[in-house]
C-alpha cells in the first residue's frame, strides 16, 4: 500500500516536473470555452431535434413542415434579409467610395462605426421611441429601417477597406487608356471591389435573417422574422421544433457562407476589415 501511494506520488511529481509552458498550453482555455459554449449546445440542439420520447425520430421536422406559418416566416425572413442587404449595398457603396477618395476618410468611417459602440438594444429602442414620437406606425418599413441602420457599418467597413486598397495606378491606367471617370468606375473600380461587396453581404445578410430583437421592437405586430419564431418556440418550451428551426437556420448560414467563399476564391477573410 505504502509503496503504491509513493509510486503515484512520484508519477504526479514527474508530471508536474515535465509540464512545460508550450504554445499549445495557451489554447486550452479557448478549447474549453469552445467545448462548453459551441460544441455542447450544438449537440444538445441535435439531441432536442431528433430525439422524441427517447427515440430517434423526424417528427419535429414533419411538425415544422406541416405548419404553413413556419415556412411563411422563413420566406419572409429571407426576403427581408435580401432587401436589407440590397439597401445596405445601395447606401453603403457610395459612402464607402466617397470616403475612400478622401484623405480624411478613415476618421469619417470611424464616425459611421461610432454608433456600434452603443448597445444595439438601446439603439433599437431609441429608434422605436423616435418613430412613436413622429407618429410613424411600426411595420415592415420601420423594421427594414432598423435593420439597415444596424447593419450598414458592416457593409461600409469591408467596402471601404477594399476600395481604399485598390492601387491608384489601376484607375490611372484606365484613364490613360481613354476611359472617362464613369467608364473607369464601371470597368475597373467596381469589378475590383467585388470582394468587398461579398464580405459585406456575408456580414449583413446572415445576421439579418437570424435577428429577433430588432423585429420585436420595430416590426410591429405583423412582421415577424424567423429568429423571433425560434425564440417564441423556446419560450413556449417547444424545444424540439425550436431546435429543428435552429438547425435550418444554421444550414442557411452555412450555404450562404459556402457560396460567398466560392465566388470570392477565399479572399473574403482577407478583405473583411
Amino acid at each position: 500500500m505504502g509503496t503504491q501511494i509513493k509510486n503515484i506520488g512520484i508519477k504526479i511529481s514527474n508530471k508536474i516536473k515535465n509540464f512545460r509552458i508550450t504554445r499549445s498550453v495557451f489554447a486550452y482555455p479557448y478549447v474549453l470555452f469552445l467545448m462548453l459554449f459551441v460544441i455542447m449546445p450544438l449537440i444538445i440542439l441535435l439531441i432536442n431535434a431528433f430525439m422524441v420520447n427517447d427515440e430517434l425520430s423526424l417528427k419535429n421536422f414533419s411538425d415544422f413542415m406541416t405548419d404553413g406559418s413556419n415556412v411563411q416566416t422563413l420566406t419572409f425572413s429571407l426576403l427581408i434579409g435580401l432587401i436589407t442587404t440590397a439597401l445596405c449595398i445601395l447606401i453603403g457603396y457610395p459612402i464607402a467610395y466617397i470616403l475612400s477618395k478622401w484623405s480624411s476618410g478613415r476618421v469619417i468611417v470611424l464616425l459611421f462605426i461610432l454608433p456600434m459602440w452603443v448597445n444595439f438594444l438601446i439603439r433599437t429602442l431609441s429608434t422605436r421611441f423616435m418613430f412613436d414620437a413622429i407618429g410613424i406606425k411600426l411595420g415592415v418599413e420601420t423594421l427594414i429601417f432598423g435593420l439597415v441602420y444596424n447593419y450598414i457599418p458592416f457593409m461600409i467597413l469591408p467596402l471601404h477597406t477594399t476600395l481604399s486598397n485598390i492601387d491608384k495606378s489601376y484607375t490611372e491606367a484606365a484613364s490613360d487608356l481613354g476611359a472617362n471617370h464613369l467608364s473607369t468606375f464601371f470597368k475597373v473600380t467596381f469589378p475590383l471591389s467585388i470582394p468587398g461587396i461579398l464580405s459585406g453581404v456575408t456580414m449583413v445578410f446572415i445576421p439579418t435573417i437570424s435577428t429577433f430583437a430588432i423585429s420585436q421592437f420595430l416590426g410591429g405586430t405583423s412582421s415577424y422574422l424567423f429568429g423571433d419564431s425560434i425564440e417564441r418556440k423556446f419560450m413556449h418550451q417547444l424545444y424540439g421544433v425550436g431546435s429543428v428551426m435552429s438547425i435550418i437556420m444554421l444550414a442557411f448560414v452555412l450555404i450562404a457562407n459556402y457560396f460567398m467563399r466560392k465566388s470570392n476564391k477565399g479572399e473574403a477573410s482577407r478583405n473583411l476589415w
Binding site: 492601387d167 495606378s169 489601376y170 490611372e172 491606367a173 484606365a174 484613364s175 490613360d176 487608356l177 481613354g178 476611359a179 472617362n180 467608364s183 470597368k187 475597373v188 469589378p191 475590383l192
Partner: protein, 487 residues
C-alpha cells in the same frame, strides 16, 4: 514649326504641400524622338512624366501636346499612353481584355461627314467593331511575342511577360507619345538588356515618340536620342548621350553620368588651369582671373606611361582587371595628395610609380555652382544670428532684427553624426568626391542647401547636425539697395 514639337513644357512648376518638386522646367520634345529623363530618385522626373500624361496638374506653367495647350486636360483626352513602373495590368481581366481595354473607347471616322449650322464639316465617328479590336490585339500580341497568351490570367505571367503586355496595351492605341516610367526597373539584368533592345527596335519601327524615365545612366546612354538630366526638380542638362557624357554641364552631371574625377581648381588665365598643385593647358577661356572652377576628367581620358615622365607623377594604389580595361586608382604626389581613378589597358602593380598624361581637350572645366554659402537672414540678438531656424553664436554686435548676409566657407561648416549635436539639422542630399575631400550638400529643413567640404563621405539621405565655429561666420549688413544673391 509647331508640328515638329510633339510635346512642349513651358515653365512647369509643381509643389506638393508647398514643397517644390519640379522647378521651372521647360522642355521641347521633337516628333519621333527617344527622350530620357534621367536623375536620382526624388529629382522630379516621374512627376514631370505624370504631368505629360495628365495624372498631375502643374502648379504653374503649361503643357502643349501636338501644339495644343493640354495643361488641364484629363489623361483620357490626351493621345499619350503610359507604361507604368508596376505595370498596372488589370487583375480582373485576362491578357486579351487588358490589351483591348483602350480600344473599346477608341472612335474612328466611319467615312461619312456631318456639316453643322456654321458650315463646319465634321467626320462622323463610330466605335471599333469586335473584329477590328481582335485584329489589333493580335497584331500587338505578335509584336511583343505573346501570341499564345490571349486567354492567360495576368497574375500567372512572369515579370517580363507582364512588361510586354503593358507595352502592348499602350501601343495598341497608336498613341502620339509613349511614356515609360522606369519600365525595366523590376526586371533582372539579362531581361533588362533584352527589353532595352526590343524597346529601341519598337521605337525605330513604329516611329512613335518615346519619353522614358530612368535613374540608370547606362540605360539612358544606350537607348536615347536625347537625355534630360534632372536634379532637385531642375533640368541640369539637355543633350545627346555623347554630349552629356563628353561635355557635362556641371559637376553633378559628370558625377551622375559615368565615372569621373572631379577636382577643384583655379583658372590662371585663358587656356591655363591649375589643379592638383599643377598647371595644365586646356581649351577653355573666358573665365575671370583666378576664378575657382571644377575640373572633370573621365577615367578613360587619363593615359598612364611607365616611369615618371608624365605631366603628373603618381603612385599606383590598386589595379583591378575589368575585362576590357584595368581600373586603376592612383595617388598623385608632389604636393598635396589627390586620388584619381583611371581606366587604361596597361597593367600596373600597387606601389609602382607612374606618369600621367591628360590631353587639353579632355579637361572639362566648369563654373562652380557656388563658391561660398551665403544666406540672407537677420540677427536674433547681439552675437547671435539666425540661420535656417537655428541660433548660431557669432562675433557680431548688430542689434536684434538687423537684416544681414551671412557667409560661411565650405570647409568651415562642421557636420555632426548626431543631429542633436549640431545647432540645426539637415539631410545629406549629395556627396561628390573631389580627389582628396568630399563635397556634401546638406539640405536644411527650410530647403537651404549648405555646401560642405569634408574629409568624410556622408551617406546620402542621412540626417546630420550642422554647426559653425563663431569665428568663421562672416556677417555683413544687408544693403537694401543691393539685391543680395541668397540662393
Amino acid at each position: 514649326m509647331a508640328t515638329d514639337k510633339i510635346i512642349e513644357l513651358k515653365n512647369i512648376c509643381k509643389s506638393y504641400d508647398e514643397k517644390p518638386v519640379v522647378k521651372n522646367v521647360s522642355l521641347a520634345i521633337k516628333k519621333g524622338e527617344f527622350v530620357t529623363l534621367l536623375g536620382p530618385s526624388g529629382c522630379g522626373k516621374t512627376t514631370t512624366l505624370r504631368m505629360i500624361a495628365g495624372f498631375e496638374k502643374p502648379t504653374s506653367g503649361s503643357v502643349f501636346i501636338s501644339g495644343k495647350d493640354m495643361t488641364t486636360s484629363p489623361p483620357y483626352a490626351r493621345n499619350v499612353n503610359t507604361v507604368f513602373q508596376n505595370y498596372a495590368l488589370f487583375p480582373h481581366l485576362n491578357v486579351y481584355n487588358n490589351i483591348a481595354f483602350g480600344l473599346k473607347f477608341k472612335t474612328v471616322s466611319d467615312g461619312t461627314f456631318f456639316t453643322d449650322k456654321n458650315g463646319v464639316k465634321y467626320q462622323n465617328l463610330r466605335k471599333l467593331t469586335k473584329s477590328e479590336i481582335s485584329e489589333k490585339v493580335k497584331i500587338a500580341l505578335k509584336m511583343v511575342d505573346l501570341e499564345e497568351y490571349e486567354k492567360r490570367n495576368v497574375s500567372s505571367l512572369s515579370g517580363g511577360q507582364k512588361q510586354r503586355v503593358a507595352i502592348a496595351r499602350s501601343l495598341v492605341n497608336e498613341p502620339d507619345v509613349l511614356l515609360l516610367d522606369e519600365p525595366l526597373g523590376a526586371l533582372d539584368l539579362k531581361m533588362r538588356k533584352d527589353m532595352q533592345l526590343e524597346l529601341m527596335n519598337m521605337h525605330k519601327t513604329l516611329g512613335i515618340t518615346f519619353v522614358y524615365v530612368t535613374h540608370d545612366q547606362e540605360e539612358a546612354l544606350t537607348m536615347s536620342d536625347t537625355i534630360v538630366v534632372m536634379k532637385d526638380g531642375v533640368i541640369q542638362q539637355i543633350g545627346s548621350p555623347q554630349k552629356v557624357y563628353d561635355e557635362p554641364a556641371n559637376a553633378f552631371v559628370a558625377d551622375f553620368i559615368g565615372e569621373s574625377n572631379i577636382f577643384s581648381g583655379i583658372m590662371i588665365s585663358d587656356f591655363k588651369v591649375e589643379f592638383c598643385d599643377h598647371i595644365f593647358e586646356c581649351v577653355d577661356k573666358g573665365f575671370k582671373h583666378r576664378e575657382p572652377i571644377d575640373v572633370i576628367i573621365r577615367p578613360e581620358d587619363v593615359r598612364i606611361c611607365k616611369g615618371d615622365v608624365g605631366m603628373l607623377t603618381a603612385i599606383v594604389n590598386s589595379c583591378v582587371f575589368k575585362g576590357d580595361h584595368f581600373q586603376i586608382t592612383v595617388i598623385i604626389t608632389g604636393g598635396e595628395e589627390y586620388e584619381m581613378l583611371i581606366h587604361d589597358n596597361i597593367e600596373c602593380k600597387a606601389g609602382e610609380t607612374v606618369g600621367l598624361n591628360i590631353l587639353p581637350y579632355d579637361l572639362h572645366i566648369m563654373h562652380k555652382a557656388r563658391i561660398i554659402n551665403e544666406i540672407k537672414t537677420e540677427m536674433w540678438d547681439e552675437n547671435i544670428v539666425e540661420i535656417s531656424g537655428g541660433k548660431f553664436p557669432c562675433n557680431c554686435d548688430f542689434p536684434s532684427g538687423t537684416k544681414v548676409i551671412v557667409s560661411i566657407d565650405f570647409d568651415d561648416v562642421i557636420i555632426h553624426d548626431d543631429e542633436n549635436n549640431g545647432i540645426i539639422g539637415g539631410e545629406v542630399v549629395n556627396s561628390i568626391y573631389k580627389g582628396n575631400y568630399y563635397q556634401c550638400f546638406i539640405r536644411t529643413d527650410d530647403y537651404y542647401d549648405f555646401f560642405v567640404d569634408t574629409e568624410d563621405d556622408w551617406l546620402k539621405g542621412d540626417r546630420v547636425g550642422i554647426s559653425v565655429n563663431p569665428d568663421k561666420i562672416m556677417i555683413r549688413k544687408l544693403d537694401e539697395d543691393i539685391d543680395g544673391n541668397t540662393n
